[in-house]
Amino acid sequence: MSGALKVLSHHLRLYRRVWKGSVFVSFVSPVLYLASIGVGLGSLVSRGPAHAIGGVSYAAFIAPGLLAATAMMTASSETTFPIMARVYWMRTYDAMLASPLTVRDLVGGELLWLCFRLALVSVIFFVVMAAFHTVHSVQALFAIPVAILSGLAFGLPVMAWSAKQRTDTPFALLFRFVVTPLFVLGGTFFPIDRLPRLLEDIAWLTPLAHGVALTRALTTGQAALSSALGHVTVLAIYAAIGIAAALVTFRQELAR
């Protein structure tokens, strides 16, 4: 068994104790979102011009955005405190590195673990979306891997940075000044072309905007291959940079 799988199996062993609660939350939060914002708020919003949001119901508009945003949220919670804990508080990685495991195995294991968490959350979210009749095409299934990729694109660079942190203050700042603004302004609730030009340009630099745009195009059945490839490329570049950076910071912190 490869080293990364051993790290994954360590995390899975811990997850076995909490999986019921975790899965329950993963179901309940999209239900609450789609019920309150989609249906409730949507009944008000739908009186506006439908063409502004692509001619679909407001629920069908924000559901894919929420899918991508949920992936980002899940990724940030998995790659902040837990990573610092394993580097510094609990020294989980030190114990692993005293065995034949290597820094590459640690980063690979975290990547697999993040994929697992994102897949679980995204599949559950997708099922809820379908139950709320917000899935409009067969290509919509591709929204699941795209959501996973969006989570990786955000989470892996964060993971590289988290390995360097020694207190939780920077994480509070990350959530307040990066995650939350992205969630609110990153295209989940309204099209980012409604933002002032400068903010729109900035939004397109973030992984979330690309994740939202592509999941939305897929679930509403409006995805064009060329723009899809563009979004995937941006997300993949973020993820790749995250992995490369994590290999560096993990080594700096753990193999001094």
């Binding site: 068994m1 080293g3 051993k6 199996s9 360590h10 062993r13 811990l14 609990m90 020294r91 989980t92 030190d94 114990a95 692993m96 590195l97 005293a98 065995s99 034949p100 495991l101 290597t102 753990l254 193999a255 001094r256």
Partner: protein
């Protein structure tokens, strides 16, 4: 060093081994060899570089320069293959607080590709070996310091290592727990396990180590067996004199020629001599009346304090 013979067959072989942290020299060109089956100790004051050296041997911290071979291999190239044959008990324990006692051993076995049934069998045996058999399903955090240390030792043994690295294995343990750890380490040595340890306890070093080195300020300043070091750096006996605080005599010149070396401390005077009783008699003849006199054999502690000085190094 030019006069150190090359011993490439040694289990651990270090020449000019150096560790830098930025501009700080943590380990400064040390040479040592550890043979198969021996117990080898690193002694030295806080910050001397013991842990830094252990981490290089453990193939987690890359050497800054110099030569290091562990089990005949180069840690920079074959770290994972070397670590597969090591057991490591680090100074700050790295037990998994999220796992229970037996799970700590069991999951660790996975990292070494030990199959499930074998891992389970060894886990049970090792927990008995360190007398934690009845705590197998407990949480780790509430265990006492000594129990955690024993658990850490058991975990390090899960892969049946040839070479066991222990960084201060008994610091903070009560005498019973220390003796138990010594006993277990002694048994491992009987089975042919090579043991490298650091310690601040001189009795521990004397009990356990066939050979040891004393590190001070990143360098090795003395090496040999405990017996050799005592012979080289101390006399056979030490005479300890205590004077009443208000009646401390002016010792100037009065101790001349009584001992090989005299050390005047705030609370007592130490005379290093091969015949303590003779020195005590001579002192009375010179009219000195200490409140108490004690003749004892020299210990490694005398050697250590002599070599590294009595100042506190930070």
């Amino acid at each position: 060093m030019a006069d150190t013979p090359t011993r490439p067959d040694a289990l651990i072989h270090a020449r000019g081994l150096t560790k830098l942290f930025g501009s700080l020299v943590a380990v400064d060109a040390v040479d040592f060899d550890v043979d198969r089956g021996e117990a080898f100790g690193f002694l030295g004051p806080n910050g001397a570089g013991k842990t830094s050296t252990m981490r290089m041997i453990g193939c987690v911290s890359p050497a800054s320069s110099g030569e290091l071979r562990v089990l005949g291999m180069d840690p920079a190239v074959e770290g994972p293959r070397i670590r597969a044959r090591l057991g490591v008990v680090p100074q700050a324990d790295t037990l998994d607080r999220e796992l229970r006692v037996a799970e700590n051993l069991y999951t660790y076995a996975r990292y070494f590709d030990i199959a499930g049934p074998v891992a389970r069998k060894r886990t049970a045996e090792l927990l008995d070996f360190v007398q934690l058999g009845d705590r197998w399903d407990d949480e780790v955090e509430p265990l006492s310091g000594g129990m955690k240390r024993r658990l850490a030792i058991a975990r390090a043994l899960i892969s049946e290592p040839e070479l066991l690295l222990l960084d201060e294995p008994t610091t903070g343990l009560d005498p019973q727990a220390r003796h138990m750890v010594w006993d277990r380490l002694y048994r491992l040595k009987q089975r042919g396990v090579t043991i490298v340890l650091t310690t601040h306890y001189m009795d521990e070093a004397e009990q356990l180590c066939d050979r040891l080195v004393v590190m001070d300020k990143a360098k090795i300043v003395a090496s040999g067996s405990p017996r050799e070091l005592i012979e080289r750096y101390a006399t056979r006996e030490v005479l300890e004199l205590r004077f009443a605080i208000d009646a401390a005599p002016d010792l100037d010149g009065k101790l001349q020629g009584l001992a090989d070396r005299v050390e005047v401390l705030p609370d007592r005077v130490l005379l290093y001599t091969d015949d303590g009783d003779a020195a005590a008699a001579a002192i009375h003849q010179r009219g000195l009346r200490p409140e108490s006199t004690l003749v004892r054999r020299s210990t490694l502690e005398d050697v250590f304090l002599h070599i590294t000085g009595r100042r506190l190094i930070e």
